[in-house]
């Protein structure tokens, strides 16, 4: 019983911590590439930033999956009750 609670808390923390690494790097690269594209072609800034926003949302989803898993582990853990 206590072991399950301890493991759940640890795993939730690790899920958020390691799950944030990949999306953070990916979003940084995406924004950097968009900045470069806008600097090279300021006319296309509108369409570039729109595509950037949609792409960022897609990338961010992976981090949010990790957050949801962490919340499930803490608040809705089926093994804890």
């Amino acid at each position: 019983m206590e072991y399950i609670a301890i493991t759940s808390i640890f795993c939730a923390t690790f899920a958020v911590a390691f799950g944030a690494i990949g999306p953070a790097i990916a979003e940084g690269r995406a924004v950097a590439a968009a900045m470069e594209a806008i600097a090279r072609q300021p006319d296309a800034a509108n369409s570039i930033s729109r595509t950037l926003f949609v792409g960022l949302a897609m990338i961010e989803t992976t981090a949010i999956y990790c957050l949801v898993i962490a919340l499930l582990l803490i608040f809705a853990n089926p093994f804890l009750v």
């Binding site: 509108n46 729109r50 926003f53 949302a57 961010e60 949010i64 999956y65 957050l67 608040f75």
Partner: protein
């Protein structure tokens, strides 16, 4: 601490439990419907200030739809515009004290995502018939059929989890900071929440639009791009 996955039940009608999120949703629907009715009651060829503001809103929506998809905005304006406005008002309703945004609850987001899923099917069938819709699963070749079916489900799921995760985490962080620090400390976070709410509403609407037209262009030989980019924004 209350779990963000649970919803608080206010009262019960027969066997149906009415949660706080549903009551907030009803209030938002009422405000939007009554507001839309009152604002569009007396439209004129020579626009008043109020009508000009409304026209600006609708034109911006149309431009966004056309620029995102290259399709004529008229068939999608109602659905996409309502989706955007509802999610925006729902996200920003957290600014009123004592109100949790209904989009921070799983069931509201799930309902919105199911609406998008159904509307993708609806618009695809309208454009290409049932055969065209079924054939759109076999593009680019029939090997992709299971992947396409899986994709049409997972992208709806990811839409709903994305909206839930963003809005809920914003409200949750504000709650934690308010309970730790005090009265005025969460204000910068609430300002950030405003931005997140706007961006999430925009992204939800744009993604719905992209999904709808992607199913459309596979189904029909000619996409409906009759008035492509009617006006260009100069920024």
């Amino acid at each position: 601490m209350t779990s963000p996955l649970d919803s608080t039940v206010l009262f019960q009608i027969g066997p149906i439990q009415i949660s706080q999120a549903i009551v907030t949703t009803w209030a938002i629907i009422g405000i939007l419907v009554v507001g839309a009715f009152l604002l569009t009651r007396r439209l004129d060829l020579r626009p008043t200030q109020r009508q000009a503001a409304l026209e600006l809103l609708v034109t911006t929506l149309d431009t966004q739809i056309t620029e995102t998809t290259g399709a004529a905005p008229a068939p999608y304006r109602g659905f996409i515009g309502t989706l955007f406005l509802f999610i925006l008002v729902a996200n920003w309703s957290s600014l009123l004290p004592g109100i949790d945004p209904p989009t921070a609850m799983l069931e509201t987001d799930a309902a919105l995502a199911v609406l998008v899923f159904l509307s993708v099917i609806w618009f695809a069938i309208l454009a290409g018939g049932v055969g065209g819709w079924l054939k759109s699963f076999a593009t680019p070749n029939p090997v992709m059929i299971p992947l396409n079916i899986l994709q049409s489900l997972t992208r709806v799921f990811s839409m709903f989890v994305r909206l839930f995760g963003n809005v809920m985490s914003g409200a949750f962080v504000i709650g934690i900071v308010a309970s730790l620090a005090g009265l005025l400390v969460p204000i910068p976070l609430m300002a950030l929440d405003l931005l997140t709410g706007l961006v999430q509403a925009y992204i939800f609407a744009v993604l719905a639009m992209v999904f709808i037209t992607s199913a459309l262009e596979q189904g029909t030989p000619n996409p409906a791009n009759t008035d492509l980019t009617p006006k260009k924004k100069d920024t």
